[in-house]
Amino acid sequence: MDFIIEFLPRIFDGFLVTIQVTFFGVIMGLALAIPLAIGDLYGGKIVSTIIKFYVEFFRGSALVAQLFIFYFSIPTLLNIRIDWFTVGLVAFTLNSAAYQKGYIKGAMESVYEDQMTAALSIGLSKVQAIIYVVLPQSLRIVIPAWSNEFCSLAKSTAALLTIGGKDLTAAGRTMASQTWRILESYTFIALIYFLWITTVMKALDILYNKVKIPGLEVSA
């Protein structure tokens, strides 16, 4: 197992990249998905059509193609250079926001009508009603979907390979090709993915139960 120890620093660097891109993607994706969901629900026809285009583009095209667009096409057009890490962060954020918008919108619709009416009846404005009543309930409902999103994003970061990114999978590939211990290398990498993703999923599960509204049976 000496070869693993030798490659540990590289694997660690790759792991850090994967973690950063995933976390940043999911959290910035969420920050972007909330206004997208609100815009889609309350923004009127034009806003909602623009949002629909955005979502269709990111959900309807391959992630690798999106990475290429941000890594090759856009920089060429603008005559600039963007490093693969920044491209990864931007592409994963935009991609994840497209998916998360759907989850949040669905959750908001499920709590919307009557809770909104009740909120208006005590004098809250529509914006206040969204902030204090609709969102707190929707975000609780959305945690399980969020957990899936995290899981799929964590694995998708391997696509960074195609633009020369050095993520966890890339580190595994380097190790495999340099040592010829293909089975052990990829097994070790798979194990890291597994442990990491399971830990985060478990944490989200605990969070879900912790913020669950007492006595209420919810189904998303």
Partner: protein, 250 residues
């Protein structure tokens, strides 16, 4: 003569396919209790929502304390803050405790400091005898308890009128009493109320005037005794007979 608290003139609400409210005019004076009843689908809820500014009437005007609130440019949020509304299906905020439900408007609409909001919310809960349940979530309460919190939520905002849309019709029969008792206590204190209800015994006790509503229109209005002894319209008479038969059977 007492002041007019709420009034509507020639009110219409037309949905795409249905005219739910047809040319309704009514008036409620300070301290008065009016009770509206009529068949399901006759437009009672729609009328109540128009009066509470929760939906915009198609035609006609709503006045609260002399001010026309159906003109453009009126701050509806501000106006709604002082109109209490109690819903048929209760609609408490699921993610907040009983206290949190009552406090929300005090904190975010009236912008009261934390301590003051808490005191006022607790007082409102005490008034509906729910103080001990302050820290329970809606899903942990019975229907009757939830509806009392709903009443406290409206009361806490110091409304000059409370509009109640069938506050007991979603409740199990054995839970109706605690809610009507709460309303009786409010009535005794002189609270101005517009109540939609089919609890005829309760109506007879608290209402100053009853209104029979059918197909979006006021068919008959008058003091409860007249409805119970000799309603002038046939339609009201038959409806009353059915209601009374139903309650005595139970």
């Amino acid at each position: 003569m007492a002041d007019t608290v709420m009034e509507c003139r020639n009110l219409w609400k037309i949905y795409e396919k249905i005219t739910a409210v047809k040319d309704v005019s009514l008036e409620i004076k300070e301290g008065e209790i009016k009770l509206l009843f009529g068949p399901s689908g006759s437009g009672k809820s729609t009328l109540a929502r128009c009066l509470a500014l929760l939906t915009t009437p198609t035609k006609g005007d709503v006045f609260h304390r002399g001010e026309c609130l159906t003109r453009p440019g009126v701050n509806l949020n501000k106006a709604r803050a002082r109109i209490g509304f109690v819903f048929q299906h209760i609609w408490l905020f699921h993610h907040l405790t009983a206290l949190g439900n009552v406090e929300l408007g005090l904190r975010r609409v009236l912008k009261l400091p934390k301590k003051e909001a808490r005191e006022r919310a607790t007082k409102a809960l005490r008034e509906v005898k729910m103080e001990e349940w302050a820290n329970h979530y809606p899903a942990q309460l019975s229907g009757g308890q939830q509806q009392r919190v709903g009443i406290a939520r409206a009361l806490a905002m110091d409304p000059y009128i409370i509009i109640l849309d069938e506050p007991t019709s979603a409740l199990d029969p054995e839970l109706i009493g605690e809610v009507t008792d709460t309303l009786r206590a409010l009535a005794k204190k002189g609270t101005t109320m517009f109540i939609i209800s089919h609890e005829m015994q309760f109506a007879r006790e608290v209402a100053d005037e009853m209104i029979f509503f059918n197909q979006g229109m006021i068919v008959e209005e008058g003091p409860p005794e007249r409805f119970f002894t000799k309603p002038s319209s046939d339609r009201a008479k038959r409806f009353m007979e059915r209601l009374i038969k139903r309650t005595t059977k139970e």
